[in-house]
Point group: C2
């Protein structure tokens, strides 16, 4: 039976969920699909490109929220974080794929953030950087959050009851998002 891109991405995603990004290798993926390693290179130019496709699969649930620019920025951030946390090492995967310019969906998300920045009144010359700043925050925060989560999901029962200092990642995340939104507000209508 023929191998399709979609099957490959599907298998890669379940490998990711079950064993994490360190064990998501081309050879192991090929083994799982019962094909030779070389077969994957008919469908994908290299591993980076394949990981980019997996990243886009992870990002499928991220939509285009409506509302004023603040609502949209906050909505995109929240949806992004949720999507990343839904897969083992999702934040790390998407972060790497974004940096490598291999995620089409991240490019779309960036575009929506650019629109929101423009609507906020940021000069077009600065809108892209404003959008990137938001993305850097969401990825950085979530990579960190996820590695901590996964770290004490192992070694679980040894830890103290309600974790240290009433840790509420959601609230912490929102604090940063609001910081950025206020920063955007302050930098709007900047003379180019």
């Amino acid at each position: 039976m023929q191998l399709h891109k979609r099957d490959v991405v599907e298998a890669a995603t379940s490998l990711l969920d079950d064993y994490g990004i360190a064990d998501l290798s081309m050879r192991r993926l090929a083994r799982e699909l019962e094909v030779s390693p070389g077969a994957l290179y008919w469908h994908f130019a290299n591993k980076q490109q394949l990981l980019g496709a997996v990243a886009d699969r992870v990002l499928q649930p991220v939509g285009a929220p409506a509302g004023d620019w603040r609502t949209r920025v906050a909505g995109i951030c929240a949806q992004l974080r949720d999507a990343l946390l839904s897969h083992t090492d999702g934040a790390e995967l998407v972060s790497a794929s974004f940096a490598a310019g291999q995620s089409a969906v991240m490019a779309d998300v960036l575009g929506r953030l650019v629109d929101a920045a423009v609507d906020a009144g940021v000069a077009t010359a600065n809108a892209e950087l404003t959008a990137r700043t938001v993305v850097y925050y969401v990825l950085g925060f979530t990579v960190d959050e996820q590695s901590r989560r996964q770290w004490d999901a192992a070694g679980a029962e040894l830890s103290e009851g309600p974790s240290l200092l009433t840790d509420d990642p959601g609230a912490r995340f929102d604090f940063g998002v609001q910081l950025l939104i206020e920063g955007i507000l302050a930098r709007r209508a900047q003379r180019v």
Copy 2:
């Protein structure tokens, strides 16, 4: 002659500068030092730890600027970016080591940013996140900047003269730093 940690880190840094992070392997480093691969594991527990030591070497020039909190934040950001741009793939290396919790110097830098945030009036519960947000920005921005720089340092003479859209990375970097500073200002004196 005895192999010391400092020699290893020195050799690793020059391998980094000459060939980039992808070619900085334990085996290649051992070959350069004319020891067996196993010898490195007497001095470092694993590759992550060694890379952390290299990251700290890269970060040596980053100091503790004086002044009011805004000046300190801006100064730390600028020094951090300069240090990262001074070595091939420096931003990527430090970003990875920071995420893995392997850079002592980044921990120090974070501490100074926490102090600045507290001085700005951010509640202590939010100061760490505020500091991390700044770090996420500097690392994200500089990884991106450096990959672009290195990409068109190859394929050089083919490109247009003054690059696209009067690209001034320094000015763009400062815009983001100011956005963050204004965000911090807006979120100071937050009720805990």
